[in-house]
């Protein structure tokens, strides 16, 4: 074994142990209590395997990911320009910030009735809910990023007499980019939380629906837990992708020193 492999093993070992202990404890508890409803980890695996084989798991994953992509994509398209504008134009910030601050703390769950009223029970409702919950963190982070640009850089840009276009493309946006990416990461995390909640209401596909449907249709808690695990794993992957973005040179300058 190489030194690097040993170091890697050292780093991952503790969390693997925690997983093993938790799963062991779960297994032992269910076996000892002889629960008829709560499944063992083995039953969860078997249930998940069944869902994979008939393909329904992938349909649900696809449905959830599509809604997140649509809602989050729209939010990103709105949030970045809006955030840049609010960050750059003081009047825009003064005008819009109170509104954003009031809308932001409203839980996406509280929007559900309005979403159904406006958009019905199709795909549009969860997409709206994802949009409304991920747009504000991204707007605020972007505006913060622009506010945080140090004066010496803006002065330098002014000194070299560049066009407005160049000022934005080479100074304002890249300077704010690390904050924008932080906002994007937070926004995607929120979007993934919200899609599951939104799918529990009046939808017939998606991981949220899978969970609620498995419970309603005969207390299939093995599938409920399988769905939860899949949600967790996909969330992990999504966050990992955003982390990759953070190591891009256009962002890394902020953290390297």
């Amino acid at each position: 074994m190489t030194r690097a492999m040993i170091a890697r093993a050292r780093r991952t070992a503790p969390s693997l142990v925690v997983f093993a202990v938790l799963i062991g404890a779960w297994w032992a508890t269910v076996t000892m209590t002889g629960s008829l409803i709560f499944p063992t980890p083995g039953e969860v695996l078997t249930g998940a395997w069944g869902l994979m084989q008939d393909g329904t798991l992938f349909e649900h994953i696809g449905a959830s990911l599509f809604r997140v992509a649509a809602g989050y994509g729209l939010a990103l398209l709105v949030a970045v320009p809006l955030g840049l504008w609010m960050g750059w134009v003081h009047g825009a910030f003064l005008t819009l910030n109170p509104l954003v601050q009031i809308l932001r703390p409203i839980s996406p769950i509280a929007w559900i009735p309005i979403a159904i009223l406006w958009f019905g029970v199709g795909n549009a409702s969860p997409i709206f809910l994802i949009f409304i919950s991920s747009v504000f963190p991204m707007v605020l982070q972007t505006a913060n990023g622009v506010h945080g640009i140090e004066k010496r850089y803006l002065r330098a840009a002014e000194n070299f007499g560049v066009s407005r276009r160049k000022l934005f493309s080479q100074v304002v946006i890249p300077a704010a980019m690390p904050q924008i990416v932080v906002g994007m990461r937070v926004g995607l995390g929120v979007a993934w939380l919200v899609v599951v909640a939104a799918e529990m209401i009046a939808l017939r596909s998606g991981l949220g629906y899978l969970i609620i449907d498995s419970r309603n249709a005969g207390n299939r808690y093995d599938l409920v837990i399988a769905g939860m695990v899949v949600i967790g794993l996909i969330g992990l992957v999504l966050d990992g992708l955003m982390r990759l973005l953070e190591s891009h040179p256009s962002v890394r300058w902020r953290y390297a020193s």
Binding site: R152, E158, N159, V162, Q170, P249, A256
Partner: protein
């Protein structure tokens, strides 16, 4: 020689309510093509004065003229800020190309690379600032300023973050470059030796609110060795003027 920059009765105070007077009715005339060093006690208003000269801060009263016209911040005079302002999100080449909006495409790249090698940064064109040492970063700062062919350089303690050796080396390189491309230079520094080494004249500022206390002519042949008796004698005289030792 005709003055390049003139300051007339320039005053500036900061703060609301209890105002903090920083610059007090200051008069100064800077000749075309000279290197003027500005020294003064810490916090006396050197940076403020330089920002006023470059047109970035408006004085409360008085006036700054460059070539007999009211100053505006543009490429004619490049300000190099105390903390440095090389854009950390752009590569060395992109930084050097930043001010070259007149030239298009390939020309700008060639010009940028030419200035990179002028300051000894050949091979680092695609590096990011965080991958450079402090000395190299300063060179980028100089190269970016020189690349737009300014008539004036306003430099705010450009060498103070460097160790003594690196400071001396870059100063000598800069003096060499300035021999071939004559520019008017205003050099703010807290290092009197550096001032005498570089400058044609050294303006000594008073404590805050600041004004000009004395202006020393530096009549020493170039290139100057910092250890020479001429430099050291003048350094001692200026330090006495500043009330140190």
């Amino acid at each position: 020689m005709r003055p390049k920059i003139t300051l007339q009765g320039v005053s500036k105070a900061y703060g609301n309510g209890e105002a903090l007077p920083v610059v007090d009715a200051l008069d100064l005339s800077i000749r075309e093509g000279e290197i003027l060093a500005v020294v003064g006690p810490s916090g006396c208003g050197k940076t403020t004065l330089l920002n006023i000269m470059a047109g970035f801060v408006a004085p409360d009263s008085g006036e700054v003229r460059v070539d007999e016209r009211p100053v505006v911040p543009d490429k004619k005079g490049i300000l190099m800020s105390q903390q440095g302002s090389v854009f950390p999100w752009l590569t060395v080449r992109q930084n050097l190309m930043f001010g070259l909006n007149g030239a298009h495409g390939g020309d700008a790249v060639a010009t940028a690379d030419q200035y990179a090698s002028l300051v000894g940064l050949r091979g680092f064109e695609t590096a990011y600032p965080y991958q450079l040492s402090g000395g190299m970063l300063k060179r980028v700062e100089f190269a970016r300023a020189l690349a737009v062919k300014p008539e004036i350089l306003y430099m705010d303690e450009p060498f103070s973050a460097l160790d003594a050796q690196m400071s001396l080396r870059i100063r000598n390189e800069l003096l060499n470059i300035l021999q071939t491309v004559r520019k008017t230079v205003v050099l703010v520094t807290h290092d009197v030796e550096e001032a005498v080494h570089m400058a044609d004249r050294v303006a000594v500022l008073t404590a805050r609110p600041t004004r000009i206390q004395t202006v020393f002519e530096v009549d020493l042949p170039r290139p100057r060795a910092v250890a020479s008796t001429g430099v050291q004698a003048l350094r001692a005289a200026i330090l006495r003027e500043l009330g140190v030792d």
